[in-house]
């Protein structure tokens, strides 16, 4: 089988500095163009009375040729004796920055084109900054249009010195500088006779000298859980944890830990289709595992090996971010964060500094992050997530932010800051200090009601019978003369939560509303009862906080999905309903919530 190496290269630079021409040349000079393509473009130029340019080969779309700029990134394929290349042509025009980033984020190396005649421009710097931030380690600078400056060594050396100084300021060491004329073909595929003073590699030689990224297999194992499959209807009982290995390797028999849930299991099998049996999975592979024990894990968790260095778990972290959204990033607005396979609701907590990527002037005073800003800021997710700082593992330390259905920004995590008051704690402090109470005191209500208020949450797997017990408890307490109220969560979907839609992203907001509702109903003196499927530690801790200063009681039925949280009461599933109700009532009595309960 053909085991040729392949490399993605991105080509960036200011508009009109000649990126497309460089690629057109590379394709033409390596014989990579389909037969007739060159002739077709020449013919089209002749028909339209335009001089032929190599760039037209790439700018294949009509409206592009009309505007004369590369709108999107185009990919082209060519190969040298050493390996196969995909060249990603990233647009230089400032309006298309997001396309440039899309291109650059897929590349291992970058060619940065600067017009030797026009010199260093805004985007020459901006692109240098972006390429560095996206983690492209190898950058070669092409000083293009040397024919326009008389192939002058002095011009080249000046540009090299200026741009090297800029790159050093952002901690990038360029691999090389090459003086070229893409239009004339100098130093592209063969050495130019017009720049005898230049002894370095041609562009083609330089491409082959770029080194492939160090094997990710040596790093600690990271497996973002993309999905859990069970194709029972097709008579397949395997429960497969599916995803792509981001780093490291794992084998059958290895102990694994899921974060942030903290659940542990052991790899029982590596699953695949139409291959020989596998026992190992390593970085880059899209694969799946079965586990030795039945544990409840969700898509979005990070599977690691407990013996290796652990990722961070937290909900508050310092990041570097670049923003390409139409609307600025602002505080007090919920965005969606995607990191690894995890999705979380996120808010901008603090802006530390913003940077204008073109002149590298920074500001400490901006109140929002505008389009094309690079910023250092603090983000806070509504629930803890597992991640790495980018210095430890790039693949699990990069994220994007979605605003109004669009990817509006991306960045890298610099530091976990999960200490100090969270946005939720701030909210509750603020809410309580502004709570406008009536004239009836809590104790008066309790005496009149002959019971205290309580928020009772039944949890457990779907089908564990918790709803039946919860409703029976409501009825039993009511028949004993108490103010008990059961509310099914599904009821809220068409009422209080009707604006949230059915998407899983709104789970955090649903939870918040339930907690706020509990705060109100327990303040009204009720025993408020509800059920939640498979609540985890975080869900309960959030509800508990939101319900403060009132109390919560957690009853778990059957298999628990908690990792550390101890429910107040643990009941078996499938038992007699009346017995379960009696147990809960006895517990309420023991805790002095109710005074008496008659069956």
């Amino acid at each position: 089988m053909n085991g040729r190496a392949q490399m993605n290269i991105v080509i960036v630079g200011h508009v009109d500095h000649g990126k497309s021409t460089v690629i057109g040349r590379l394709l033409a000079d390596t014989g990579s163009l389909p037969q007739g393509k060159l002739e077709a473009v020449r013919e089209s130029c002749r028909r339209n009375s335009k001089p032929f340019e190599y760039a037209f080969l790439l700018d294949a779309l009509k409206d592009e040729q009309a505007q004369g700029i590369t709108i999107d990134m185009a990919r082209c394929f060519f190969n040298t004796a050493a390996r196969d290349y995909i060249i990603i042509d990233a647009p230089g025009h400032i309006e298309f920055l997001k396309n440039m980033i899309t291109g650059a984020s897929r590349a291992e190396s970058a060619l940065l084109v600067i017009d030797a005649d026009e010199g260093i421009k805004e985007n020459s710097k901006r692109h240098g900054q972006m390429v560095a931030m996206l983690g492209v380690k190898q950058v070669t600078v092409l000083a293009n249009k040397m024919d326009l400056v008389g192939f002058s060594e002095a011009v080249f050396e000046k540009l090299k010195a200026d741009y090297t100084a800029f790159l050093e300021a952002i901690n990038v060491t360029p691999v090389s500088f090459i003086p070229i004329s893409a239009r004339e073909g100098d130093n592209i595929a063969s050495h130019s006779g017009r720049m005898e003073w230049y002894k370095g590699a041609t562009v083609l030689e330089q491409l082959d000298q770029f080194v492939s990224e160090k094997e990710l297999q040596e790093k600690p194992f990271r497996f973002p859980v993309q999905d859990i499959y069970k194709f029972t209807r097709s008579n397949d009982d395997r429960r497969i944890v599916a995803g792509t290995v981001a780093a490291g390797r794992v084998q059958v028999g290895d102990e694994v830990l899921f974060l942030p849930s903290n659940k542990k299991s052991v790899i029982q099998s590596v699953e695949s289709f139409n291959t020989d049996p596998k026992h190992v999975a390593s970085a880059g592979e899209s694969t799946g595992f079965t586990l030795a024990t039945q544990i409840y894990v969700r898509p979005g968790e990070l599977m690691v090996k407990p013996g290796e260095s652990r990722p961070e778990v937290g909900s508050r972290f310092r990041v570097n971010i670049f923003w390409v959204g139409r609307a600025p990033m602002i505080r007090n607005k919920s965005y969606k964060l995607k990191i690894g396979s995890a999705r979380a609701t996120v808010k901008l907590a603090e802006i530390c500094s913003t940077l204008d990527a073109s002149d590298l002037t920074s500001s400490q005073s901006k109140q929002q992050i505008d389009c094309r800003d690079v910023a250092e800021c603090i983000l806070e997710t509504s629930r803890p997530i597992a991640f790495d700082t980018t210095a430890v593992s790039e693949a699990t330390g990069r994220f994007v932010i979605v605003d109004n259905f669009e990817i509006a920004g991306g960045g890298v995590v610099v530091e976990n800051l999960s200490v100090g008051e969270t946005l939720l704690q701030q909210h509750i402090r603020d809410r309580e200090s502004n709570w406008e109470a009536g004239l009836v005191r809590t104790e008066q209500r309790a005496i009149a009601n002959r019971h205290r208020a309580k928020f009772i949450v039944f949890t457990g797997a779907q089908g564990s019978g918790k709803r039946v017990v919860a409703k029976a408890l409501e009825l039993g307490l009511f028949q004993n003369g108490m103010n008990a109220y059961y509310l099914g969560v599904a009821t809220l979907d068409r009422g209080l939560d009707a604006d949230l839609g059915s998407h899983a992203d709104s789970a955090g907001e649903r939870l918040r509303r339930m907690g706020e509702l509990a705060r109100i109903l327990t303040d009204a003196g009720l025993i408020f009862i509800t059920t939640i499927d498979d609540a985890d530690d975080y869900d309960i801790e959030t509800l508990k906080l939101l319900n403060e200063p009132n109390d919560i009681l957690v009853v778990n039925m059957g298999e628990s999905s908690f990792s550390r949280y101890q429910p107040d009461l643990q009941l078996a599933d499938g038992g007699v309903v009346a017995d379960a109700v009696t147990l809960v009532a006895a517990f309420l009595k023991a805790k002095e919530i109710i005074i008496d309960y008659q069956i």
């Binding site: 389909p34 037969q35 394929f77 899309t102 097709s234 990069r398």
Partner: protein, 292 residues
């Protein structure tokens, strides 16, 4: 991992991402080699299963062997197989072979229009009933909001600009100038109501990669791709009035790979046998209008 392993891993990742994010998802299966490789990749992604309906647009001018092949594997691989068609245009004989339209208009009626209305659920869908082993009118009419398509970036200019996850508005229009960013492996998986998305798991594959993978995995493909002794074979499959075979002696997959690598086709565009591409505007005009 060699280059095929990498391509496979990325495509599998994309397919799983689509399956995770889109409730109403389908995959277009043209019966050609590319979408057949894509179907195979779905079996890789879902460990032998294909939990996504496969949609084929039947123009009724497909080479008959393609339909036989489709139905054989629909049954053998337990596929949720659906086809749709433009029955009105066919009944009114508004087609190029009937002499009433040009090639591009015929494509628009029998492919683009049929596809649009089959995806939206406005026109009937026919589903393979595995017990009766024949197609029945499908009761499901909900629109597909995620459509997986086997286009490759190396096919021609406009396809090289595609995203892995590419939005289309209500009228199927593709705004080439304003595409969503795709950073690292995070794609646009959030969509406003009324819009839908096309998902392109094969974007990074070349024609040669496709054949190398078919060879490695021993994927069955329609025999029309091979020379059956007459010195001709199809390089790209479509409707018989508009698709011409190429002169070739290649009888096996390795022979096809040799032909692409160093032989007679190493410098000739793949779709050269597809007549509609050479008409004014060609594939780009068709694609803006919803053609795949």
């Amino acid at each position: 991992m060699d280059h095929l392993d990498k391509l496979e891993a990325q495509s599998v990742y994309i397919l799983r991402e689509a399956y995770r994010e889109f409730k109403s998802l389908c995959m277009l299966w043209s019966i050609g080699k590319d979408s057949t490789v894509m179907l195979w990749l779905a079996r890789k992604a879902f460990f032998g299963h294909v939990p996504i309906p496969l949609v084929h647009i039947d123009t009724h001018y497909k080479i008959p062997e393609m339909i036989a092949y489709r139905d054989r594997f629909a049954l053998e691989w337990n596929l949720n197989m659906i086809y749709g068609e433009n029955s009105e245009a066919l009944a009114d004989k508004l087609t190029f072979p009937d002499g009433t339209t040009d090639r591009l208009t015929c494509c628009k009626y029998l492919k683009s229009e049929a596809l649009k209305h089959t995806l939206s659920g406005e026109w009937p869908r026919y589903r393979m009933d595995h017990e009766q082993r024949r197609y029945v009118v499908d009761e499901g009419r909900e629109p597909y909001t995620g459509v997986i398509v086997g286009v490759r970036a190396d096919e021609e200019g406009s396809r090289s600009k595609e995203r892995y996850f590419s939005p289309r508005d209500k009228d199927n229009v593709w705004d080439v100038g304003d595409q969503p960013p795709e950073f690292w492996n995070q794609f646009k998986t959030d969509f406003a109501p009324g819009t839908h998305v096309r998902i392109h798991p094969l974007l990074d594959w070349t024609e040669q990669n496709i054949w190398e993978y078919i060879e490695r995995e021993k994927i069955p493909v329609v025999s029309l791709y091979f020379n059956q002794g007459e010195g001709i074979r199809y390089r790209s499959l479509g409707c018989y009035p508009c698709t011409n075979p190429v002169l070739s002696d290649a009888r096996t997959v390795p022979e096809i790979i040799d032909e692409l690598k160093s032989g007679k086709f190493s410098n000739i565009a793949e779709r050269s046998g597809r007549a509609q591409d050479s008409e004014d505007g060609g594939l780009e005009t068709l694609r803006r209008d919803g053609y795949m």
